[in-house]
Every structure is written in structure tokens, then in C-alpha cells.
């Protein structure tokens, strides 16, 4: 050992090794490609698109694919960012309800062309919606209230509704209801008649191309690599700002950050809270913010068979009053989240931060202890909290669960953590076998009724809550109420009922942040499902 240093200077077989290492380092240097000057004909987005499996509007069920489909397809109606209570015209200029609301008549714009130059007609609308219903894949579930479609004339189409009391207009803005060209799709084996689930062969083509009216059209999808979009020369909304859009798959957030800083991409979609914090003061990079309609929530079962203590309402409320909500949002989320009162996220159905102030759960350990005493468990109790071993909007369920465990320990409630993989959690949770879970809600469209009915139907079953008729009546009344103020009132009434029940504890609703370069502007985020208003983005002036 002492002689090692002197001997190391001797000539030895080390030189070969040194040469090898040296060579490798040189290769590494050579590979650091210089930042390329951005040709502003092309917009490049860095996104984790590893989940994308399908771009066929009748089959699409992934989280990232609507970013693409939002840019290549239009629906009859659409929604403006931030205004999710209402729809605005898109391919349809207007609509009226006929036959007591059983039929909705849409008038189409007469100046719309598909990207191949052919005009949009009512036949295309019928074809697209019929195909959605008859292919019977996942998106068809959102169209359950749609009976059939009928062409009235070239620019008029009727939609027949099964239950007029259930809202449908906001659903129609969702990516599943995209309108595409009958001619182009049929040429690729597309079928819209009954039996389409077997006969339709267009999906493969629709995964590589698009047949829509949006500002861009798809020309290539290479799985886990990239999606290429080309400008639609016939776009009805005016001149399209970029020749091409490239959606590059970058799974690693550190690589996204580096690529953005090098100017290789114009926007980084999946940066972590810590990485975004380092960009806050950057002069070269902007951060686009948008409140999502997703949220992370925790459930508590009502069933005394699963957990005797949780079977008592007071104990569930005691849990709800012992969580440090502000700490989670401020520190784990870096302040980039809000908290809704209960199942309706902020931004829909009259759910606001003022409402949270008024009727939301708040951290109040004394109240929590009182509730425990009232339930006959003054020394607390214990329950099992299940969660998936996964990351979630910049943090992880594991961290959240540990935070909640330590919060509840303050009032004597013992939380046994029960991590598992996503599949098992899903199986146990949907089967109603969990005492408590932390999980994520991502809505298919911003229709308040979708949340409300879920919370009193399928999710209520999972927490084994026997929903009283009066709650169901309030939800039904809210769904049928056309007047926004009255609707909000009814939804508030429903929310108070959920609050008293204590089965759902909303933890936070994230504000999504996307870092963008200074080379582009008008990067508007939306919570309506397609994440970003692709048609708005322009090169900086």
C-alpha cells in the first residue's frame, strides 16, 4: 500500500487502458452536437409520448395522444381555455334543440375543407359519429347518450339523444367526437355501420395519417420516437403559422430540459417541480401555466367490514381534518396546485376557492380529536392506505402517503401503507376491497355531470357508500338545469352532502406548467383534454 504511489509512475500496461478511455472521452466530446439554429418554419415539442397507442378518434384512450388529435381534428363544438362551463361553435355555427330536446339540429359551416381539399358535409359528421358508436371501443362509452345521427341536408345534421335530461354538449367537444372525412377513411377500409367493430380496418392508417379539418395533419407516427404534422393548406381558420410540427418523444425530464436549453425543442412538457424551479428566473425560457381539471384524491371506505373504525362517519371526518393540505401544496407541489372542495374540480359546476374557504375541510387537529372522541375512538385507530408505486405530476404517491401517515399520527391515527402495482390497485379499488386509496382523476371531458354521477355511482360503490335518494335527486336536477347560477347552487348542495359523508378527500388539483422557448408565443394551455391549443402557437414577432 505505501509503495503504490511510487510504483504507479512506472511504465506499465496502463497505457493501453488510458488510450482506450481517452478515445472514448474524445468520442463523447465530438458527439456534443452544436445547438442548431431553429428554423421557425418548424415547431418542435418535447413530450413523453410513450403511452400513445392509438390516434384513431374512435379508439383513442391515452393521455398524450389528444395533444396530436387536438391539432389535426375539429369537432362540432369546442371549448375556450378556462371556460369549461360552456361550448363555442367550431365546425357547427349553431344548434337548436327539437322535440323536447330529443333531437339537436346542427348547422355546419359551409367553408370547411379537409386537408386534402375536399369539402366537409353532413355525411362526414354522420360517418364519424356512427363509426364512434359502432366500432364500440373505449370512446364509445362517452357517447352512450347518443341514439343516432341523421343527415338533413348538405350542411345540416340531426343528433338524436336518448335522455335529454343528461347533458351532452360539452361531451361533443371532446377529442372522441372528432369529425373526419368519410371518403378518406372509407378508402382505407373504414366502416361506420353496425358490425364495424369487426369490419373496420382504418385504424392502422389513422395511426399514421389523419383525415380531419384541423390546422395540421398527421404524416407520420413512429412509436416512442416522434409524430410529424404538416400544415393544412386548406385550414378554415386562416393561415397556419408553421410548416411542420414535430412532437418528439423524450421520456426523460432531464433530457427535455437540456434539449430546451440547447434550443433543440421549443417546449418541454414533462419537467419536474425541481427543474421548473431552476427555470423560474431564466430570461430565455417562459413557463406556460394552466390549471388542469385533474386531481389527486384519497378515499375512505364506509364499510365497517373492511375497517370498523372507518365505518363511522366521525372517524372519516377526523381523518379529513388532520391532513396538512397547505403543506402538501406549498412544498411537495411547489405551490403549483389548488384544492377543490370535493369531487368537482375548481373551474366546473360552481366549484371555486371561495367555496373551499366556506365548506372545505381544513387542518384542525382539535376538531379531529373531538370527532375521534365522538366516534368512541379517542385514542385513534388504524387503517390501511393503498397506493400505486408510481410518479404523479412531479411527485409520487409514495411521498404523499408518507406525508399523510405522519400527519395522521399527530391525532393518534395509525396508517399502514400498502404500496402495490397499478394493476393490483385498480383491481382492488374497482372491486371495492380497499380501506383507503390515494389515486388520480383525469376526466374525459369537462362536463360536471361526469364527475357528479361517478361520485354517486361507480366510485360510491368502491367506497361502499349507499347513496341516499335525495343525493341522487340533487345530482339529476343539477344535470338537467340549464341556468348556470341555479346549476352551481345545486352542485354546491351536492358537494355539501359529500363533505358530510367524508368518503372523498381531495388533496390537490395541479397547475400544469410547460416550459417554452422565447422563439414561440401564444402557447395556451387548456384543460379540455388536448392540453394545448396547437393552432394558436406562433413564432415570436
Amino acid at each position: 500500500m505505501p509503495g503504490l504511489r511510487t510504483i504507479a509512475r512506472e511504465k506499465s500496461g496502463r497505457s493501453a487502458l488510458r488510450m482506450l478511455v481517452g478515445g472514448l472521452v474524445v468520442a463523447a466530446f465530438a458527439a456534443m452536437a452544436p445547438a442548431q439554429a431553429q428554423d421557425k418554419q418548424v415547431l418542435v415539442l418535447g413530450v413523453d409520448i410513450s403511452d400513445a397507442r392509438n390516434f384513431d378518434p374512435a379508439r383513442m384512450a391515452d393521455y398524450s395522444s389528444p395533444i396530436t388529435n387536438g391539432a389535426v381534428y375539429d369537432s362540432l363544438v369546442t371549448q375556450k381555455p378556462g371556460a369549461y362551463e360552456d361550448v363555442v361553435p367550431s365546425l357547427a355555427t349553431g344548434w337548436e334543440r327539437l322535440d323536447d330536446g330529443q333531437r339537436i339540429r346542427f348547422t355546419l359551416r359551409d367553408d370547411v375543407k379537409f386537408w386534402d381539399g375536399s369539402p366537409l358535409t353532413a355525411e362526414d359528421v354522420k360517418f364519424s359519429l356512427d363509426r364512434l358508436l359502432n366500432v364500440k371501443d373505449q370512446p364509445a362509452v362517452y357517447a352512450q347518450n347518443l341514439e343516432k345521427t341523421e343527415v338533413v341536408d348538405e350542411h345540416t345534421v340531426d343528433l338524436y339523444i336518448k335522455n335529454p335530461a343528461e347533458p351532452i354538449m360539452i361531451n361533443l367537444a371532446a377529442p372522441a367526437f372528432a369529425i373526419y372525412s368519410r371518403a378518406m377513411t372509407e378508402a382505407q377500409g373504414g366502416v361506420s355501420t353496425p358490425g364495424a367493430e369487426q369490419e373496420d380496418k382504418a385504424t392502422q392508417w389513422l395511426n399514421q395519417n389523419s383525415a380531419g379539418t384541423g390546422p395540421y395533419h398527421m404524416v407520420q407516427w413512429e412509436r416512442n420516437a416522434q409524430i410529424m404534422l404538416q400544415k393544412n393548406p386548406h385550414y378554415w381558420g386562416g393561415e397556419v403559422p408553421f410548416e411542420r410540427v414535430v412532437i418528439r418523444h423524450i421520456g426523460d425530464s432531464a433530457a427535455q430540459l437540456l434539449a430546451l436549453e440547447n434550443g433543440d425543442i421549443d417546449a418541454a412538457f414533462n419537467l419536474t417541480t425541481e427543474q421548473l424551479a431552476t427555470l423560474e428566473d431564466s430570461a430565455d425560457i417562459d413557463i406556460a401555466r394552466g390549471l388542469s381539471l385533474d386531481y389527486v384524491y384519497m378515499t375512505l371506505t364506509s364499510s365497517p367490514e373492511l375497517n370498523e373504525a372507518l365505518g363511522k362517519t366521525e372517524n372519516r371526518l377526523a381523518v379529513a381534518h388532520a391532513i396538512d393540505y397547505d403543506g402538501i401544496i406549498e412544498h411537495l407541489m411547489g405551490g403549483n396546485a389548488v384544492r377543490p372542495v370535493n369531487f368537482l374540480p375548481i373551474g366546473v359546476g360552481g366549484s371555486t376557492e371561495e367555496l373551499l374557504e366556506r365548506i372545505g375541510y381544513r387542518e384542525d387537529l382539535d376538531k379531529s380529536r373531538e370527532l375521534l372522541a365522538a366516534a368512541g375512538n379517542p385514542d385513534g385507530f388504524s387503517f390501511q392506505l393503498s397506493y400505486a408505486n408510481a410518479a404523479i405530476v412531479g411527485t409520487s404517491y409514495q411521498l404523499l402517503a408518507q406525508k399523510i401517515q405522519s400527519d395522521l399520527a399527530r391525532v393518534g391515527i395509525t396508517v399502514e401503507l400498502n404500496p402495490m402495482d397499478q394493476v393490483q390497485l385498480r383491481t382492488q379499488y374497482t372491486g371495492g376491497e380497499t380501506q383507503s386509496v390515494i389515486t388520480f382523476w383525469n376526466p374525459p371531458s369537462p362536463e360536471p355531470q361526469l364527475w357528479a354521477s361517478a361520485s354517486i355511482e361507480r366510485v360510491a360503490k368502491r367506497v361502499r357508500w349507499e347513496v341516499p335518494q335525495e343525493v341522487k335527486d340533487v345530482v339529476a336536477a343539477a344535470g338537467a338545469e340549464p341556468e348556470p347560477a341555479k346549476r352551481a347552487e345545486l352542485y354546491t348542495e351536492y358537494t355539501e352532502m359529500l363533505q358530510a359523508q367524508g368518503n372523498y378527500i381531495l388533496l390537490f388539483q395541479p397547475i400544469y406548467r410547460i416550459a417554452t422557448s422565447q422563439a414561440i408565443e401564444d402557447f395556451n394551455l387548456t384543460a379540455a383534454g388536448w392540453q394545448v391549443q396547437m393552432g394558436d402557437i406562433k413564432p415570436s414577432q
Binding site: G3, L4, I7, A8, S12, G13, A16, L17, L20, L24, V25, A27, A28, F29, A30, A31, M32, A33, Q36, G46, R53, N54, A61, K136, Q138, V141, Y142, E197, R223, N224, A225, Q226, R248, I250, G251, D252, A254, A255, L258, A259, N262, D264, I265, D421, Q422, V423, Q424, R426, T427, Q428, T430, W441, N442, P444, L450, A454, E457, R458
Partner: protein
């Protein structure tokens, strides 16, 4: 020799059937339904939709029938369709395997090129400083957790010094070369895209070095031990007595004999590299088979799990066979025995 081969191949088939059967049974014991995780929340509550999806993957059939269908598909070279990626498992494997093969082959070559000479020198200069250093290095190499080593080199050379490229197979500016083999080094060279070649090579440096650490230690130590054994043999003494040059004795006589155990271990080490890269791949965001395997297991993707199990069993058994056969080439006595 041919009879030996036939017996070996027959036992391989039995082993593969057994291995896939065991994995099939264990994975079906897991109390979870992979379909539910593939459906949206609303869809998972819709019995018709769930039934349609279950039928699509034959999950509505009795378990034994599902296994027979798997075997039948296997005979026709059909691994079925992955539940989570919804495309043929074979396509998935063909996409992910080259990334892993490229990485582990480079790592393996690295550890052989460095490990064998190091082991030989350590044996020849026994108890010299180089022997001690080789021993220390190889012991540290087999002791370091690869996932940690991967993190450290990435934090240091990429995050800190910024002299190495980050995670992934290529920088963002580069597109993968046209698919021929899926090995980026080969494909980019075939296409003459030398900038892509350089970038792919640079991206391979850190992960392959990390991966090589363990194997390097094993190969160095095995080579050293085998060389010591060989150098103690009579023919070496005879050679020395005949006045042959030391270099000739080492390279022409001792080394070939010493290589037998090295080949055995090397073959196994390569098999381990191929199936054991999941930790390195996770840290380096390497789109390889290790991560695909992990994801398939997590999502209980039966067709993918079975496809990979089959593949790993075949690779393991074939490498074993090759190892045994190369024994025969290096030492003819083995077959005669």
C-alpha cells in the same frame, strides 16, 4: 457428437415448456386483472367493454386453455398481442431487444478487452502491485450497486462536468437511423450517417461502462485464477526447461488452457448482462428489453411476460450450449468423456 446435440436440444425443449408453464402459473396467481388498468375509469365500470377486452386477449377462457393457446402460437412463431402496447409482442421485442443487445455487447466486449489482459498480467506478476490493484478493482466492481453507479456517473459526467451526453440512445437533434438491425451503431454506419454514429457511440459510453463494472471484475478474477492454474501445470515447466520464451509459454500454451473457464463464465456473464440490464436501463432511460420486461411484469401483461420468459430461457439455454460446445473445441477431451 450428433447424438449429444440431439439430447441437449430435446432437453432444451422440455426446459422451455416447464419454464414458461411455471411463469404462466405464477403470473396467473396474481389477484389482479390487467384489463382494468388498460381501460378508462368509466370503461372499467362498463361490463360490456370489460368483457369485450377480456375476450380480445382470450382471458375469458380457462387458464389451461390459455396456456395451450400460448404454446400453439409459439409453434407458429406468434407470441400474441401485448395488452399494454396493443401490438404484437414480437414487434415489441424486436424494437426493444436491439437497444439491450447493443448495450450489453459493448459492455461485454469492454470487460473482456480489459479483463482478460488484466487477469493474465495479474497472474503472471502475481503479488505485484498490478495484481493487488486488479484484485481491489474487481472486488469493488462486483460490490458496487449498478443503479447507484449509474446515478453517480450520470450526476458527475453529465450533470456536473457536462462532458458526457445525457440519458437515452441519441441526442434529441438526431433521429434514429433507418431500421436494419436496430443496433444504432450498425444502422448508422450502414446508412453513412456518421454524426448519428458518433452520437450513438457517445451515448453508449456511460451505461456500458457501468454495466461492465461487475462483469469486468468477474472476468479478471476468473482469468487470473485460471492462468495461475495453467502456469502451474507440467507442460509449462517442460516448456521453461526447454528454454522457450516466457511470452511464448504464456500466450501459446498457458492462455488457451486458461480460457476454458473464462469462456464458461463469459457466456453466463453475457446471458446475465442481456437479462439483467433493467437497473441500468432505468437510470439511463434506455429503451431496452430490461425496462420492457419490468413494465410488462408491473402491468401483468401476460403475452409480453410469456414472450420474454420464452426468449430469456432460449438465450440462457443456447448460450449454455454454445459454452459447452466451445469447451469441446478448446479441449477435445470433454466430448470424449
Amino acid at each position: 457428437m450428433i447424438r449429444y446435440l440431439i439430447t441437449r436440444l430435446a432437453s432444451m425443449v422440455v426446459m422451455i415448456v416447464l419454464a414458461t408453464l411455471v411463469v404462466f402459473l405464477i403470473s396467473h396467481l396474481v389477484p389482479a386483472d390487467p384489463i382494468l388498468a388498460q381501460l378508462g375509469d368509466m370503461q372499467a365500470a362498463n361490463p360490456a367493454m370489460v368483457a369485450a377486452y377480456r375476450a380480445r386477449w382470450g382471458l375469458d377462457l380457462p387458464v389451461w386453455q390459455q396456456y395451450l393457446i400460448f404454446l400453439e402460437g409459439l409453434v407458429h412463431g406468434n407470441f400474441g398481442v401485448s395488452i399494454s402496447t396493443q401490438r404484437p409482442v414480437l414487434d415489441d421485442i424486436l424494437q426493444y431487444a436491439p437497444a439491450t443487445i447493443e448495450l450489453s455487447t459493448i459492455a461485454f466486449l469492454l470487460s473482456v478487452i480489459v479483463g482478460v489482459p488484466l487477469g493474465v498480467i495479474a497472474a503472471v506478476r502475481r503479488d505485484s502491485w498490478i495484481d493487488h490493484v486488479a484484485r481491489l478493482l474487481s472486488l469493488i466492481g462486483v460490490s458496487a450497486p449498478t443503479f447507484w453507479l449509474a446515478f453517480v456517473v450520470l450526476a458527475l459526467f453529465y450533470g456536473g462536468l457536462q462532458i458526457a451526453p445525457g440519458p437515452g440512445r441519441l441526442d434529441v437533434v438526431h433521429l434514429p437511423p433507418p431500421f436494419v438491425t436496430g443496433l444504432y451503431l450498425v444502422d448508422s454506419a450502414l446508412a453513412g450517417q456518421w454524426d448519428v454514429f458518433r452520437n450513438a457511440a457517445a451515448h453508449l459510453i456511460l451505461p456500458s461502462t457501468v454495466l461492465a463494472a461487475t462483469t469486468l471484475g468477474l472476468i479478471t478474477r476468473t482469468t487470473r485464477a485460471a492462468m495461475l492454474e495453467a502456469l502451474g501445470q507440467d507442460y509449462v515447466r517442460v516448456g521453461r526447461a526447454k528454454g522457450l520464451k516466457e511470452r511464448t509459454i504464456i500466450i501459446r500454451h498457458a492462455l488457451p488452457n486458461a480460457l476454458i473457464p473464462v469462456v464458461t463464465l463469459g457466456g453466463l456473464a453475457y446471458a446475465v448482462l442481456l437479462s439483467g440490464t433493467v437497473l441500468t436501463e432505468t437510470i439511463f432511460s434506455w429503451p431496452g428489453l430490461g425496462r420492457y420486461t419490468f413494465r410488462s411484469a408491473v402491468s401483468l401483461d401476460f403475452p409480453a411476460i410469456m414472450g420474454i420468459t420464452f426468449l430469456v430461457a432460449v438465450v440462457y439455454l443456447v448460450i449454455n450450449l454454445i459454452v459447452d460446445l466451445s469447451y469441446a473445441l478448446l479441449d477435445p477431451r470433454v466430448v470424449r468423456q
